[in-house]
């Protein structure tokens, strides 16, 4: 099982987390939704797999490049 780290491409606030640890996801499934510049910015799964970790909580801010989730392929 290879781990795939999901990083934030931007500085933003975490608005909603759409998946939980253990969920199966397909590529491009929405893992969470950020809010930035008054827009809803979905964070898509870079690959299919199982959610191994969610490293953020709703309402918190994230920095560019920060790890927000880990998938297991």
């Amino acid at each position: 099982m290879a781990q795939q780290v999901v990083r934030s491409e931007l500085a933003a606030n975490v608005w909603k987390v759409e998946v939980a640890v253990g969920d199966k996801v397909e590529v491009d499934d929405t893992l969470m939704i950020f809010e930035s510049m008054k827009m809803e910015i979905p964070v898509a799964a870079p690959c299919a797999g199982v959610v191994a970790a969610i490293d953020v909580e709703e309402g918190q801010s994230v920095a560019e490049g920060q790890i927000v989730a880990i998938l297991e392929r």
Binding site: E9, M39, I41
Partner: protein, 513 residues
């Protein structure tokens, strides 16, 4: 008595030179997953088009009778060649040959390559795989020296004269980082190439214990904007080099070549009418929306990992090459950061230099704001980007897809020039977006109302009617609102007008603020 013996000796030396370094070094180079310099040149250019220059230079030992006893070929290989039938110059160092100190002509050959590109006005491809000097040089020279950045003036002249592509194909350190970064387009190979000013043993002295990948891996350097793109193989780098050059003239003294186009100018994509969500908070796939308007498979993105709220690409319209900027709402809603501004400045300059008309697909909510944005130098970078847009001499066409707010929104064109501009019916513009600003602007009004929530809703509904782009068009403040499905047609019309307006010659711009 003919000169055949000399010709035979030259051929023998060329045969040895083609073997490159010792077989073990070549084998180790291959085992590292890397191609040799001659395989690289062959992989890049048209078959059998390499015209090598300095083919027998190298280090030769003679015996007392003047007979050659040992010949070590030069560690720098270069010459003229063709890519898609068009002349180019190409060169790079041979990592399988020992240090440059044993190669009497090596430095002069790499300098000659640069001068040849500039003086013949030909595209240049640098194949870089080598480290710079180390302190042992001092022992060899028996002295030290004041750094003079050899040939930097020529690198800079070339940058204003002909397309320069630089590929980092191994370790790129020392002065080679300058040769990689001082280019119009640079790439590194993932997990195979590394770029740093000083390598891991040197930075270890600072207390930073890092691997080559952690210090200067390909993705790190692309995200930092030190190189433009990352590829997975050398072959992919060669393919992208050929593609990059296909959009450009051989030099600033020529115009970009038109390609054959069998994609109808009148092609309409029906889904474009609903491509932009009516909900202003929702994003869309900007690459998909952008590609729909250009000639099939002609969209060539550059610099994907840096300044991601702006997508920059070369593409074609009715066969004419153009430079394209597209806002990407997935990153900061399309808002401009300092990195985005720097990316825009470099790209607009590149388009201007090589006479590519500019197409700008705009969805910009403004500059990204906040403490971090101020600390990042967004204002200075943004002004430099605006200066590049204003100083660009070539024709430009703007399509406002959705948002166009504030100073960054205003940077979509030089407003002293004729606005060759359209908007989609999703157009939404102004000095600042309304969301969140209503409560502040109408605080007293809302507080005094019997039902504040109802009053807020009433104000919102009224303002939302006023923000319709049709009202702007009534006052001729947007030239024309078009059906998104007609975008290809109006852009192709623009490209055909623009083709006649392109002018050759060097770029004359002032300094950036």
């Amino acid at each position: 008595m003919s000169w055949q013996p000399e010709i035979d000796e030259i051929e023998r030396r060329r045969a040895i030179a083609r073997q490159m370094g010792e077989p073990e070094r070549v084998a180790r180079h291959h085992a590292d997953g890397k191609l040799t310099i001659r395989e690289r040149i062959d992989g890049l250019i048209d078959p059998d088009s390499f015209h090598e220059i300095g083919s027998i230079s190298g280090s030769v030992e003679y015996d007392e009778a003047g007979e050659r006893v040992r010949y070590t070929p030069s560690q720098f290989i270069f010459g003229r060649a063709r890519i898609d039938g068009r002349p180019v110059v190409v060169g790079g160092n041979d990592f399988t040959i020992g240090p440059r100190g044993q190669d009497p002509g090596g430095s002069e050959k790499s300098a000659y390559l640069e001068r040849m590109a500039g003086q013949l006005g030909l595209p240049l491809v640098r194949l870089i795989d080598g480290v710079g000097g180390n302190v042992r040089t001092i022992e060899r020279l028996g002295r030290t020296y004041i750094p003079n950045n050899p040939g930097f003036n020529t690198l800079l002249e070339n940058l204003n004269r002909a397309p320069v592509v630089a590929l980092g194909l191994g370790i790129v350190a020392g002065y080679n980082v300058v040769k990689l970064a001082t280019s119009h387009y640079s790439m590194m190979v993932r997990e195979r190439s590394f770029m740093f000013m000083a390598g891991p043993p040197v930075v270890a002295r600072l207390g930073q214990t890092v691997t080559k990948e952690e210090l200067g891996g390909a993705d790190l350097q692309a995200r930092a904007g030190n190189v433009d793109d990352v590829v997975d193989s050398e072959e992919e780098a060669f393919e992208r080099t050929r593609r990059f050059l296909s959009y450009l003239p051989a030099s600033v003294d020529e115009l970009p070549p038109r390609a054959a186009c069998d994609d109808p100018v009148t092609r309409r994509e029906d889904w474009l009418i609903s491509a932009i969500p009516r909900d202003r908070r929702k994003v869309y796939d900007a690459r998909k929306v952008a590609k729909a308007h250009f000639d099939k498979d002609s969209f060539f993105e550059i610099g994907r990992q840096f300044g991601g709220s702006l997508i920059t690409a070369f593409a074609r319209l009715d066969g004419w090459p153009v430079a394209v900027m597209v806002s990407n709402p997935h990153i900061y809603g399309g808002g401009w950061t300092a990195d985005t501004s720097e990316k825009a400045m470099r790209f607009v300059d590149l388009a201007n230099l090589f006479h590519l008309p500019l197409v700008n697909l705009v969805d910009v909510p403004g500059f990204v704001i906040g403490v971090e944005a101020e600390k990042a130098g967004t204002i200075r970078a943004g002004c430099r980007a605006m200066a590049a847009v204003s100083q660009a001499q070539g024709p430009a066409c703007t399509i406002i897809l959705r948002k166009c707010f504030g100073v960054a929104g205003g940077a979509h064109a030089d407003h002293a020039k004729l606005q060759y501009r359209y908007a989609w019916p999703s157009g939404d513009w102004g000095s600042m977006p309304m969301e969140g600003g209503i409560e502040a602007a109408y605080r007293a009004d809302i507080a005094a109302a019997a039902d504040p929530a109802a009053r807020l809703k009433e104000i919102e509904d009224n303002l939302n009617q006023l923000r319709s782009p049709l009202r702007t068009a009534e006052h001729f403040m947007i030239e024309e609102i078009i059906d998104p499905r007609a975008t290809r047609e109006v852009l192709c019309e623009f490209a055909n007008f623009a083709a006649k307006l392109r002018k050759t010659g060097p770029m004359s711009v002032g300094i950036r603020p």
